[in-house]
């Protein structure tokens, strides 16, 4: 882990300075020459380490191979130190002139350098809320996406794996949801290049050296209008100074879905019995008599004779899905030019058949000194990824249909071909065969990405540096979807054959940014000043071209020119920004720390009257432990108090939103098409920035020589002028308009504890982080306003003043009507009969109206606490790493149950539906409605709301490093288990799921399940 900081330029400078200092001061004591080598725990030599004779000014620095030579007399004590290691003291023995000194990792070193916005800073000097993700502590996780690396690693960073789709980018939220209308995703910055609110799928996790998460305004305001939701800084690897090496990582594994993460539906006999009973119950209730046998359709008359029972969900699972990952990294760090070349390949088959993701990455990072004052570098990475995807999420998609499809139909006909139409008889909805659909449809997404970062840095006038940076990110993707004629339709009751359809789409995005940075750094006695002046311009343009084809002579010709009918469309959009920014850091005596930043930024996305915004921030820190009055205890190593305040913005509102444009609305005159134009949206030229004001108070405490590090942080973020799509009276011609209205507050507490210890030969370390976030809407358009999103049969999220954003809304289910009498005595529920849900009359007007009026808050989708807990250690050659993540006290609307517990008889139902209400004498478990009607059971209501508190055992990694005397090169073998266990009472398969999109949060309509992955791998370093 110490390696990651060694290479930083600043470290080198410090090393050089020390070298100069000490060589000039080397005393000419009458001592003998003592020499030796400094190595780390693994036997690697440590260049640049300082060796000082204690109590004197005699010292030296180790060379590139870790060797040193110093004059010392017997009895002198050599102090050997280096960043990232605990200092060691060695007494010079008479007669011994050669010493092999090994250094141990220090727990944390305050002189570590941390990457921050447009630069880096000593950890000790940081006065804002910054989390550094410890890449070594994550272990070798079998992942294709970088977002996984953030899971459970930092307080205040919520990572939700919403689906188990291969290659899926997880949802990341830093310090809660700060916006109702604009996005809540952080800004991702790769090697200084702000690439946007999504990292996509194309960065190779193996190439990453460090990840820093900027959380408060003081650290993010330098990113101005994109800083509101936090910033994730990713730095890729480069060669270590003085080292040449080749590292190969090979990882192979298998992915599957454990039985307890599968939803259990009725089998053939159970479903036929249910259908049979539903006919019986209907006649009993509506006709008040026992049914005649012939009144029950033949196919359900003798349910126990149902011959076929297909578990559609099991049929679509790939229980032997392969995971494969190979990375090779070649580094050359000798001489003035450092370079790294890496290649990576990853291939992940999905837990659902015929879905997979693979990616090929190459990277070349090169930098070096041209002369005394010129440094230059370029990072180039290219990737190609290919995904076979399927529309899996939601009740109408593959997973949903696998749940509700009629189990009495087989996957294959007797001749071995696919049975193309499932259900469609006896009042059960007909659907396509999901297995056939997965096999026969083509759904490819190919993406090529090329990212480059180039810089040239000039040092001049001693303290100045000018750095010019040019970044470019080019992404091209090609998507192809073909649905053959042999498949049933995608909707309900659409038996095959249908028209074959083809969609092909290419998208190209080019993002270019240029930064000019002038920095100044000077230390005058106890004063240390760093200043930065910058100018940045960035532009992104995207264009797409799409063709659709319908009706094909044959399903074999999957190209547009084979289609009977084709249509095409294309589009272009883009944005630009221009920013000036400055930052000044000042430290006095390493005790009092101040920092101020300012950014003025203009964006093409805002109204003509509001193009520019100003984003100032201030922070200050006080290292109490450096004060003379601070008690010098042995156990407090360092104590720092810090606070910050600043303003950041959010511009994630889409392009051209402030403008009203015309759109086509054509007509026909005299049999000819006439082009027409109509208004497409309400124009708001006053549209401006969404602003967040954030206050942060933090405390960093190191105890017992950095063995225990505590971080506590309180923040208060208020988002003003929220960019919100506001509902307007439709008499304006539009139902909504983007406006700057409303205010939301997020307050929170973040706690992090790092603990390391050594018990005899066993090194143990643990990291626990806890996040508590509270969200409250302070203001909307008017006092009593509410913002509704969602739908009547889905779920509603409502934001109201004084309440957290996007609370779950619906009818409150009070039980199940048992008798007609009970229905009569209850407030009027039009159409209710015994067995339907009994809803709460919230308005108290005696009527439960079939609209939103009687709906109330029925759940809170925001976790009260988030947990990340890493436990690791090593002994001898063995090491282990365990990660738990958790979220507590929040609700999910399990909306899929409105389908899988829909007693219409048009869908298969959950096994627990056996215990539904049948009559007052057979009331069931009070959770399932009657099959006699459809009304009053599938509306957004509290019946489907569950507490989703959970803990995941995300990962266990076990490793064994082969002794070096056995093999000539370092080899570590490891086993890893990902997403191993889920501890929860939530009945769904993934409590992190969210199928609603936008702020329609906390909704589970069943998504691609999250599988577990077992891998075996090896890391070999030459």
């Amino acid at each position: 882990m110490k390696e990651q900081f060694q290479t930083k330029v600043k470290t080198r400078l410090i090393g050089l300075m020390l070298l100069m200092l000490f060589t000039t001061l080397t005393a000419l004591a009458q001592s003998a020459n003592v020499s030796g080598t400094v190595k780390d725990e693994t036997g690697e030599s440590v260049p640049g380490a300082t060796v000082v004779v204690k109590g004197t000014q005699t010292g030296t620095v180790t060379d590139l191979d870790g060797n040193f030579s110093i004059k010392a007399a017997p009895g002198d004590i050599l102090v050997v130190s280096f960043i990232g290691y605990s200092a060691r003291e060695i007494t010079v023995q008479s007669g011994q002139t050669v010493y092999d000194i090994s250094l141990e990792d220090s727990m944390s070193d305050l002189s570590e350098v941390v990457v921050v916005g447009y630069g880096s800073q000593r950890k000790a000097d940081i006065t804002s809320a910054v989390s550094v993700i410890n890449m070594d502590a994550i272990g070798n996780v079998p992942t294709t996406n970088v977002s996984r690396l953030l899971q459970g690693q930092a307080a205040g960073v919520e990572v939700r794996q919403q689906s188990g789709r291969p290659g899926e980018e997880m949802q990341i939220r830093i310090r809660g949801i700060g916006s109702l209308g604009a996005g809540s995703q952080p800004l991702y910055v790769v090697d200084g290049f702000p690439i946007g609110n999504s990292l996509g799928q194309n960065v190779n996790p193996a190439d990453i050296e460090t990840i820093t998460v900027l959380k408060d305004a003081a650290s993010t305001s330098i990113y101005g209008a994109r800083g509101s939701n936090g910033v994730v800084l990713i730095t890729t690897k480069n060669a270590k100074e003085g080292k040449v090496g080749l590292e190969v990582i090979v990882n192979q594994g298998v992915t599957n879905l454990p039985d307890n993460r599968r939803t259990k539906m009725m089998n053939g006999v159970e479903f036929a019995t249910f259908k049979n009973e539903s006919f019986v119950d209907r006649i009993r209730y509506f006709s008040k008599r026992e049914p005649l046998i012939e009144e029950i359709p033949l196919e359900f008359r003798f349910p126990e004779q149902t011959a076929i029972s297909t578990d559609w969900f099991n049929e679509i699972l790939n229980q032997n899905a392969k995971f494969q990952n190979v990375n090779a990294t070649l580094t050359a760090g000798k001489g003035d030019i450092r370079s790294l070349v890496s290649v990576g390949y990853v291939n992940q088959e999905g837990a659902i058949i015929k879905t997979d993701f693979d990616r090929f990455n190459v990277r070349a990072n090169v930098d070096g000194k041209i002369n005394e004052f010129l440094t230059m570098g370029v990072n180039l990475s290219a990737s190609h990824s290919r995904e076979n995807f399927a529309p899996t999420d939601g009740r109408s998609a593959i997973i949903g249909r696998a749940l509700w499809a009629d189990p009495r139909y087989p996957v294959y006909k007797e001749d071995g071909t696919f049975n193309p139409y499932i259900g469609g008889t006896g009042g059960v909805f007909g659907t396509a065969n999901v297995v056939q659909e997965l096999y026969e449809t083509t759904r490819d997404l190919n993406t090529n990405n090329l990212m480059s970062n180039a810089f040239l840095e000039v040092s001049f006038l001693k303290n100045f540096k000018f750095r010019t940076v040019l970044n470019a990110n080019l992404t091209g993707s090609k998507q192809k979807e073909f649905r053959p004629s042999t498949l049933a339709g995608g909707g309900f009751n659409q038996p095959p054959p249908r028209e074959a359809t083809l969609m092909e789409r290419t998208v190209e995005t080019m993002n270019i940014s240029a930064d000019q940075l002038l920095s100044y750094s000077k230390t005058i006695q106890k004063h240390r000043i760093d200043a930065l002046l910058g100018f940045s311009a960035q532009e992104e343009n995207t264009s797409f071209l799409q063709g659709n084809g319908n009706e094909f002579a044959s399903d074999k010709t999957k190209s547009l020119n084979a289609a009977v009918r084709t249509t095409s469309t294309s589009g272009e959009f883009g944005w630009s920004l221009l920013a000036y920014f400055a930052r000044a850091n000042y430290a006095y005596n390493d005790k009092y720390l101040f920092s101020a930043t300012f950014r003025r930024e203009g964006s093409s996305r805002f109204g003509a009257n509001n193009k520019y915004g100003n984003f100032p921030a201030f922070s200050a820190g006080w290292r109490l432990s450096e004060e003379n009055f601070f008690p010098k205890t042995s156990w407090i190593t360092d104590l720092k108090l810090r606070g910050s305040y600043g303003i950041t913005g959010n511009n994630a509102i889409g392009n051209y939103s402030s403008q009203s444009v015309m759109r086509a609305s054509n007509y026909v005159f005299a049999g000819k098409i006439a082009t027409g134009q109509i208004l497409s949206n309400f124009s708001n030229s006053f549209l401006g920035w969404e602003q967040s004001q954030q206050t942060d108070i933090g405390l960093d405490l190191s105890l017992f020589e950095n063995k225990v590090i505590l971080t506590a942080e309180y923040y208060n973020r208020i988002t003003n002028n929220m960019l919100l799509s506001v509902e307007m009276p439709s008499v304006s011609g539009f139902t909504q308009s983007l406006d700057n209205v409303g205010k939301v507050k997020n307050i929170g507490l973040e706690l992090g504890i790092d603990f390391r210890t050594k018990v005899s030969r066993v090194n143990l370390r643990t990291n626990l982080n806890l996040t508590f976030n509270r969200n409250e809407v302070l203001e909307l358009r008017g006092g009593a306003d509410a913002i509704w999103s969602g739908s009547f049969y889905g779920s509603y999220n409502v934001s109201k003043v004084g309440r957290p954003m996007a609370m779950l809304y619906g009818y409150k289910m009070m039980g199940i009507f048992q008798t007609d009498e009970e229905v009569k005595n209850w407030p009027t529920q039009d159409g209710a009969i015994p067995g339907t849900y009994k809803y709460f009359d919230a308005t108290g007007d005696g009527v439960i109206s079939y609209d939103q009026r009687d709906m109330i808050e029925i759940g809170n989708p925001h976790p009260a606490m988030l947990l990340g807990w890493t436990l690791g250690g090593d002994v001898g050659g063995f090491d282990f790493n365990i990660l738990f993540t958790g979220a507590f006290n929040y609700d999910m609307m399990r909306n899929i149950e409105a389908t899988t517990m829909n007693m219409d008889g048009v869908f298969n139902i959950l096994q627990s539906g056996v215990n539904r209400f049948r009559s007052a004498d057979m009331p069931g478990d009070g959770r399932g409605a009657t099959s006699n009607t459809w009304k009053w059971q599938r509306e957004s209501n509290s019946r489907y709301v569950y507490d989703a508190s959970h803990v995941w055992l995300r990962n266990i990694t076990l490793g064994y490093s082969l002794p070096l005397n056995v093999i000539k090169f370092k080899t570590r073998l490891f086993f890893s288990g990902e997403n191993l266990f889920l501890f929860t009472d939530y009945p769904g398969t993934n409590p992190d799921v969210s199928t609603g999109g936008g702020i329609n949060i906390g909704r589970d309509d069943e998504a691609y399940p999250v599988p577990r992955t077992f891998t075996l791998g090896a890391t070999i370093s030459f």
């Binding site: 209907r282 009042g427 007909g430 006038l461 309900f492 009751n493 038996p495 054959p497 028209e499 000019q516 100018f535 311009a537 009706e551 009918r565 589009g571 272009e572 959009f573 630009s576 221009l578 964006s603 093409s604 996305r605 392009n655 051209y656 403008q659 009203s660 444009v661 015309m662 086509a664 609305s665 054509n666 007509y667 026909v668 005159f669 005299a670 049999g671 000819k672 098409i673 082009t675 027409g676 134009q677 109509i678 208004l679 506001v726 009276p729 008499v731 304006s732 011609g733 308009s737 159409g831 109206s849 079939y850 609209d851 939103q852 009026r853 219409d904 048009v906 459809w934 009304k935 599938r938």
Partner: protein
């Protein structure tokens, strides 16, 4: 202000740091400048941030020229296509003319279309919200264009024609609104800020009618009686006059009705000899057509109609719409009661509807469907049928009705009525008293203008709410006892087909009251 990035950097020269000294400093600066040029962000000035959608025109600067004004008006005509795609729900389907083909499989349609058929609608019924919102979204385009016409540099001829067309469309929409919703919010100018929209309140119906009549008289003065061949399809003076007659008939201002409609008689319109020809896509904009919504099929330009896809029976699998496996939506199904109204020998019956179809397996399926808009077409989902808004036979029947109301069944009244009957190969009527004549004209309207969205309005203008309630509940009772289409054993809900007087006015959509609580609701909801 245009500053290049290069210039930005030159400004740095003025900073004291750079001024201080040294030759090599200058060298370095020159080096920077060259570097920036190489970096190539050539012009990074203020206009760097001016981005507009390259695929669209900005509305602020539109409406300037003849072409732009014409395109704006065409765009509004285009919106009528969408408006009429669902107009049948509120004017035909809700009435006793049509019902639905019961969908045993999908019972999830409750709050929407089925609620309209069974009169179980309420303020949350989404179709009313769509109707209301769509109407005003056309209105904002009409109002914006009318406003911009004042400052437009387009020619006077184009401005006049456009104003006439827009005012007829605005009158048409407000006339629909006031009949369906009662008092409504009047907007005649574009709204500038979201806050302004909250200030608007419902106006009394009378004010709405005044606006409608004022718009129509303006339009009558501005519009030509006909257009050059390449402009056919635009709204004419005849359409404006007929609309005026319609509005006045609704208000029972019979002498004025006669005055308006008689002017239409002189504009060259006539009945086609054959009723079937009226609806043939190959025969659009004929002598009998006064105002049609123009659709075009046989291509994929997106201006087509697709009514039969909504109206054809469910699961007809290509037996009605001649594409393999093609089903209909099963909506707007002619009711048994309506089918029984036809006199023997009426040629209009087989043109307007079919009582069933022969399935692919050769079986007769007795599910009736509307046939007026069922014409052969070569692209699935793309039909060529126009939608008639005003036909000459409507003018004749309205005139006949108004004359009867003012002076009884005169020979002139018989003349207009019998023109329509004879064309349908029925015998002319005679010898009726005033009331019998009134009933005869209404029945004739029901048959002649079947499935052209007149029934609900004819009920509303001729009957009181309590009479409508009686009539509809009687029809509902029949449907409950003997449904037009089979219900697959699923019983009616208790409240289905129960009509209450207050339901003659639609509810103001619940969302609109939630968004602006100052908006009032119609009684009963």
């Amino acid at each position: 202000m245009k500053l290049t990035l290069y210039q930005e950097l030159l400004h740095l020269e003025q900073l004291s740091v750079f001024k201080t000294k040294k030759r090599n400093m200058k060298k370095i600066l020159i080096y920077f400048q060259t570097l920036i040029l190489v970096v190539g962000l050539g012009s990074c000035g203020e206009d760097f941030l001016d981005k507009t959608d390259p695929t669209a025109l900005v509305s602020d600067t539109f409406y300037g020229t003849d072409q732009e004004v014409t395109q704006a008006v065409t765009g509004i005509y285009g919106m009528l296509r969408g408006y009429f795609n669902s107009h049948w729900q509120f004017t035909e389907f809700i009435s006793d003319n049509t019902t639905l083909h019961f969908n045993v499989g999908n019972r999830g349609q409750g709050p929407a279309l089925e609620a309209i058929e069974y009169w179980q609608y309420n303020a949350g019924t989404p179709n009313f919200a769509s109707l209301y919102n769509n109407t005003y979204s056309i209105m904002v385009n009409i109002n914006t264009t009318l406003e911009k016409l004042k400052t437009s540099t387009a020619s006077q001829a184009i401005k006049d024609r456009s104003e006439g067309e827009l005012k007829v469309m605005r009158a048409y929409l407000y006339f629909d609104l006031v009949r369906l919703f009662g008092d409504v919010i009047i907007v005649t100018e574009p709204i500038k800020t979201p806050a302004d929209a909250f200030q608007l309140q419902r106006s009394p119906s009378e004010a709405v009618y005044s606006l409608v009549l004022a718009d129509l008289s303006d339009a009558i003065n501005l519009l030509p009686p006909n257009y050059p061949a390449n402009q056919v399809g635009r709204i004419t003076k005849g359409a404006a006059l007929t609309m005026q007659g319609r509005v006045r008939l609704h208000r029972k201002e019979y002498p004025e009705v006669i005055n308006s409609l008689k002017q239409v008689l002189n504009l060259g319109y006539n009945l086609l000899p054959n009723y079937a020809d009226v609806f043939r896509p190959g025969n659009k904009n004929h002598k009998e057509s006064i105002w049609d919504v123009q659709y075009q099929g046989e291509n994929l330009f997106g201006v087509n109609s697709s009514f039969i896809y909504t109206f054809a029976p469910l699961a007809s699998q290509g037996a009605v719409i001649k594409f393999p496996g093609q089903d209909g939506g099963g909506w707007n199904t002619p009711s048994k009661e309506f089918i029984s109204l036809y006199e023997p020998g009426d040629v209009r019956k087989s043109v307007s509807l079919k009582e069933g179809y022969t399935s692919n397996s050769g079986a007769w399926v007795p599910v009736p469907f509307i046939n007026k808009y069922n014409n052969p077409h070569s692209i699935r989902g793309v039909t060529d049928d126009n939608w008639p808004i005003i036909r000459y036979s409507d003018v004749l029947l309205m005139l006949s009705e108004a004359i009867n109301e003012t002076s009884g069944p005169t020979s002139e009244a018989y003349e207009y009525l019998n023109l329509v009957r004879v064309r349908a190969t029925l015998s002319p009527l005679n010898g009726l008293d005033k009331n019998q004549f009134r009933m005869a004209v209404l029945k004739e309207r029901r048959i002649e203008l079947a499935f052209e969205n007149h029934r609900w309005f004819d009920l509303k203008r001729t009957l009181s709410p309590s009479e409508i309630k009686t009539l509809l509940n009687a029809y509902g009772k029949k449907e409950r006892e003997d449904p037009t289409t089979s219900r697959g054993g699923i019983p009616f809900s208790q409240e289905d087909y129960t009509f209450e007087e207050y339901q003659v006015l639609f509810p103001i959509p619940a969302d609109q009251i939630r968004i602006n609580p100052a908006t009032t609701q119609n009684p009963g909801y």
